[in-house]
């Protein structure tokens, strides 16, 4: 990992298209501005990893799962309609 020390207001350039701007430092919080092209994802890492994990799980859903899911949904929706006094 490359480690740089910057002051409030200073910038870091990554490649030609990515810029990191240290906007404000208050206590142990730093406000960072980021310029990046649309195909580069920029996120808070811990949430990013959680969503990535969940996506990797989601890709394993099978058509069989979906057949079961559809049945459950239709049953539940049928029950709900009945309860609405139709």
């Amino acid at each position: 990992m490359l480690v740089l020390t910057r002051k409030s207001g200073e910038m870091i350039a990554i490649g030609d298209e990515i810029k990191i701007h240290i906007q404000e430092i208050r206590g142990n919080q730093v406000k960072i501005g980021i310029v990046a092209p649309p195909n580069v994802a920029v996120h808070r890492e811990e949430v990013y990893l959680r969503i990535q994990d969940e996506n990797r799980r989601a890709v394993r859903v099978t058509q069989e799962n979906m057949q079961d899911l559809s049945k459950i949904y239709k049953n539940l929706r049928g029950v709900k309609t009945g309860n609405n006094g139709n």
Partner: protein, 147 residues
């Protein structure tokens, strides 16, 4: 028309102008930037989004309001960058569903919604910061309570 190879659905033919571009892909799947979307079955709230590039990659999605009528997110203008949004009504929010066990335990990732401009078919997956939503919200909480 273009032909797409898919693991679940065989070969699919689709019009080029129906292909959705997801900027940055869907997190964890950087090789897949283009998807096609279709209903799981007629009248179903569930849709599949199938990768054009990778036959194995497909996700089940749904309109989160269908199961979570109070779902409300704030989307910053920058998060809609390059999606060519001209009318806010064109912005479609979808949530990816996943599974740990049985279908009744299906969960929705409300923290990582897909935001797609239905007019331009350009979108991205958003990463919401910590707050009201997590990556796992049960579609059928009443089934769980019933044990």
């Amino acid at each position: 028309m273009i032909k797409i190879q898919t693991a679940r659905f065989g070969e699919i033919e689709v019009e080029k102008n129906k292909v959705i571009t997801m900027f940055g892909g869907i997190l964890g799947f950087p090789k897949s930037e283009h998807y096609i979307m279709f209903d799981h079955e007629p009248g179903s709230p569930f849709k599949w989004i199938q990768s054009v590039e990778e036959p194995d990659v497909a996700f089940v999605v749904t309109d989160p309001l269908c199961f979570f009528p109070e779902y409300l997110i704030q989307v910053k203008k920058e998060e809609l960058a390059n999606m060519d949004v001209e009318d806010a009504n064109d912005v479609t929010i979808l949530t990816i569903l996943s599974l740990r066990g049985e279908a009744r335990d299906m969960t929705a990732n409300l923290q990582g919604p897909l935001v797609i401009n239905s007019a331009s078919l350009k979108g991205r997956q958003l990463v919401m910061k910590e707050g009201a939503y997590t990556t796992k919200h049960h579609l059928f909480p009443e089934l769980r309570a019933a044990g």
